[in-house]
Symmetry: C2
Subunit: 169 residues, 2 copies
DNA sequence: AAAGGTATGTTATTATATAACACTATCTTT
DNA sequence: AAAGATAGTGTTATATAATAACATACCTTT
């Protein structure tokens, strides 16, 4: 198990990992964070978070909406989903992938909340990463322009390890 | 004048620059690139590019559409704009800012086409930047995951030099 | 139980983007 | 210059993503 706060391991890119472990860890962490922050991880919010964590592929709000509708008998409208997503974003439990208009679970919900992803255009997996070096360089660049960073998003689109292999061989 | 292929100077962040020069350079460069690539910078495409270059603020497709409609008597529909935008993106003459769903002129349309911007949430200016260092570190990170990068986008949202000053003082 | 705040339901609308097909302009070959 | 091919634009309809505004339900504290 990787140390808490670290990015997910490269093996996720190859889909060779115990994803049930990802899910249970994420749900437990979410409970703790919400309780620490004095906010409520309601049934709906938990349900949405669990759906997002079904894989490492970002899910769109409308896909989530349909999945919710399947799970419960009631009809689910966009604001229901968007409000849950907004909450989860605020608590740092998920990320929004701008290039996809989609949402994915955060693998280190306690640390800095930069948005750094490698997104496989073949299988859809989004791998969160972060390195001290890049952070340092970016701060440097911003300083050159006297720019005050409030939010950061790096999105690399391409092919993950597994899909690169499939293409080449 | 900065050497061809270099990012725009920090002074753009402070809005203290000769923007007419930006526009004329951009339009001339666009003509040359299209001619080099054997593609046509039609009237419509040129018109859209010029509108985008009216400032360093990214413009949404529908805003562009309204501006086009004002300039000509004919009615302008979304596909008209989106097709022109698609062309300009393909030729590397503009960038799409994912966090804003908007488009902005490219300041170095001949080089690598990474998408690295600092976006001021106050005045809306998007400053393009790129550094060897960041590029190097990002390639490094991708290599660790055996990830093949096809497109890259860094978007920093915050306050530009001018707007930081306004807030502090 | 009442009051106040938080969360969700509901309806309507706005914003962004594309599909499909028709028509026009431009280029190429003769 | 005419014919055919290709590229570009017009037009209508629709898909996809997100929010506004207001009503209702649910918790918590008194």
């Amino acid at each position: 198990m990787p140390p808490s706060g670290s990015p997910i391991s490269p093996s996720i890119a190859s889909r060779l990992h115990d994803h049930n472990h990802c899910i249970s860890t994420a749900m437990e962490t979410a409970q703790r964070i919400c309780s620490d922050n004095g906010v409520r991880l309601t049934q709906l919010r938990e349900q949405v978070l669990r759906l997002i964590w079904q894989s490492h592929r970002p899910l769109g709000a409308y896909a989530l909406m349909e999945m919710l509708a399947e799970q419960s008998t009631r009809r689910v409208a966009p604001p229901t989903v968007y409000r849950a997503l907004e909450f989860l974003l605020e608590q740092g439990l998920i990320h929004r992938i701008n290039t996809l208009n989609a949402f994915v679970g955060c693998t280190h919900p306690q640390g800095d909340h930069d948005n750094n992803f490698m997104i496989c255009e073949e299988c859809g997996v989004a791998i969160e990463f972060c390195t001290e070096k890049i952070q340092h360089d970016i701060k440097d660049s911003a300083a050159q322009f006297n720019f005050t960073i409030k939010a950061q998003s790096i999105e690399l689109v391409g092919l993950c390890q597994a899909c690169t292999g499939n293409k080449d061989e």
